[in-house]
Amino acid sequence: MGRAAKITRRTLLVGSAAIAGGVIFGYWKYKQPYNNPLLANLKDGEASLTPYVRIDQQGITIITPRAEMGQGVHTTLAALVAEELDVDLAAINVEHGPASSAYFNSALLEEGVPFKPTDHGRMAEGVREFMRVPAKFLGLQLTGGSTSVPDGFVKMRTAGAAARQTLLMAAATKLNVEVASLRTHDGAVISADGSVLPYTELASVAADIEPPAEPELKPRSEWRLLGKSLPRVDVVAKSTGTAEYAIDVELPGMVYATIRRNPRLGGSMNGYDASAAEKMTGVKKIVEFTDGVAVVATNTWYAIKAADAIEFDWGKVEYPSSTAEIYAQFEACFDDKYEDSQARDDGDIEAALIEADVLDVEYRAPFLAHATMEPMNAVALLQDGRLDIWAGNQFPTQVKIDGETLTGIEQDNIHVHTTYMGGGFGRRAEIDFVRQAIEIAQQMPGTPVKLTWTREEDMTHDVYRPAAIARFRGAVADGKPSAFDLRLATLSVVESQMGRYDLPVGGPDLSIVQSAWEQPYAIPNYRVTGYRVPAMLPVGFWRSVGASQNGFFHESMIDELAYAAEADPLEMRLAIVSHEPSRKVIEAVADLSSWGAPLPAGHGRGVAFVYSFGVPVAEVIEVASSDAGIRIVKVWVAADVGTALDPRNIEAQLQSGVNFGLAAAMQGEITLEDGKVQQTNFHNYDSIRMNQAPPIEVRVLENGAKIRGVGEPGTPPAAAALANAIFAATGERIRELPLNKHVRFA
């Protein structure tokens, strides 16, 4: 073991989701395969050849064990299996499947290593490879970090190929011929004499054959499905109101619940008076759970009305109770005592700043809510020692763990039914709402309970994108940045979330400096320091995580230096970019947008480039400034995903990421007073709407070294590109989000 264990132990300590101890056991466990969870519930005549494929007389089902929350992952992951299995996507079923560690996410921890993601040297790749060991040891079935495609790219094609080989062997046995004389086509084995044996009829024979461990995969030149724009497997259901979200699950005898918790996040409940609520129409029961009260009724509306009628005495909280006090605490953390990382320190920044004409500025970004369209909800049924849970969730294995902790029921008797999600954006990697549904169901055994949060509960009990303050000093020489010193203070989302799951964490949280320390720019004196603000209100993963605020900070600062250097902002980025695929996306967005062409009066253009989740993305935004305010005229995007599996879906994800970033940049802000979140619904936490949504033109490149996921990388450049465009149009440099604190949007 020697070297292997040493490297593993070190990466465990430095990884941003590191695991303390258990290294040798972890490696041993890594060698043990997880059982195929589909084998537990097979009926006669059914076969499950891998954890991803189930075949019976009725048809073929592909398990796509990552949360479908809009990013199209079911279609793309199913296509990976279907490509090798040789079946038509329209002819198969696609399911989330059961919660199981067999579906662990091996890509999740790979970028938690202290190597720049653009570094593909032997050492960096070797350490990333070893991060698969703890990933497997933990067995986390978690969707996040734009990892679904990189995680599934080889293993799901392998699953399809192994299943196909097994079916070929089954047909050979049945026909008493050589495997080599057979081929497959469209869900069937075809023999030399032309007879057709559908996979569904081979299932029972195939079930007794050991699938090959390392089947050969098709070369890209032979792909039929991958690389093409495929119709989404969920698009008809989602266009006809027939797609089932957890909020739509209906079971016989079901009751409907809603909850109230302390509006001060994490605060206690001193007492409550439900005497009026108990008598109200439709109310069946009022029950307590860990940190609040649930009303159970015959209709969600009756539950909500009764909850409104309960009088509560809520406790205070320890954390600073107003936005101003919170920012004061952030300011106090620019101190060595709170230093979390200094992952980049090129040249001699202090010396470089002594002589120079220094730009010295501060930027801010606010707390943000996820505000998924579907409020948090879950269904739970506890009956005869069995727990069933229906929930849109990004973390099914954790649902089982928490289910066991709460009820004492063994995980084998806990069944997680993951539904479609009305948005996730990181919010559904939390399972607070699932725990609550279980606690209510525990008090009503045998009765299925559906818990639905109101929008107000959802908005005020989120795990927020943390606010952040950035302090920057920079200088230019010869038309380029000569010094770039960025200090970032924010809360640790890894510490906050992993703490809620009792998962140990160690080492720095690189999400504090994500998309700041590893940007592929060559600046001779370049330093990025992260300061960790001590935990206060709960914070969580919000689409693109640290890159969501750091993309705005870093790329606004680069823009400021370009103007200080009297350089064209896009040309200057090309002059300092140090990574070839990144250079090409900047060139591509210049070409796509005809950068440099004359603009109408009052118009201005901004550019931003951010490397996040392994994907370089460049965006150009054009705005028009008039008496009515700022209007976004158009957005151009170029991104490099390494290998593009579904171009139309990649376009959709980049457009989605841009709009998500613009919505927050224009108006998103969560503030606190008396410890309570002040925004409660879409009237005071609005999003971008049709009248403000710009056309977004996308170009996808494939020069990157690895295949990458694209659910998040479209978001980080949007705020900076917009702020930079507003500067170009108006001369006003806005260093604080949301932008509508300083300009009006038309």
């Binding site: 209709n299 369209m373 709009n659």
Partner: protein, 152 residues
């Protein structure tokens, strides 16, 4: 009270101030209209009453006079309405949660204005939020449906 939804007559015993949305979802098990905000700010609950769009989360069930149409009554997976076909053709949906409401609003728009301008689309559709930001494809699908219905 009586309620006619998608051509079927129902008898309901609920409080008169119950929003139509909760009567549809929890009493009649019609789950196409979605709960998003409860204050008519997001449009996920949009249905038609006599062909006109209504935010069912904020419309008392006792105030309904006429026939209610939900997304289920517009078309089915095997027999989609032209607007739903355009939604599929343009692959609009991502998470899909708001799309029932978007489609009901778009259908109401096209009933009133068969060939809407961009400004008319903006005005009519701005009551429907989409956190996935599918707006470019919603716009394209509305235009495609408009052409199809006019050729009709």
């Amino acid at each position: 009270m009586k309620l006619k939804v998608n051509g079927t007559d129902y008898e309901l015993e609920v409080q008169p101030d119950m929003p139509l949305l909760w009567a549809l979802r929890d009493e009649l098990n019609i789950k196409g209209p979605k709960f998003g905000c409860g204050i008519a700010m997001c449009g996920a609950c949009t249905v038609h009453i006599n062909g006109r769009p209504v935010r069912s989360c904020s419309f008392p069930v006792s105030a309904v006079s006429g026939e209610v149409t939900t997304i289920e009554g517009l078309g089915t997976p095997d027999a989609m309405h032209a607007v739903q076909e355009a939604w599929v053709e343009h692959q609009v949906a991502q998470c899909g949660y708001c799309q029932s409401g978007q489609i009901m609003s778009a259908t109401a728009l096209l009933n009133q204005k068969p060939d809407p301008t961009d400004a008319e689309i903006d005005q009519f559709m701005s009551g429907n939020l989409c956190r996935c930001g599918t707006y470019p494809r919603i716009r394209a699908a509305i235009k495609a449906a408009s052409s199809r219905l006019q050729e009709g």
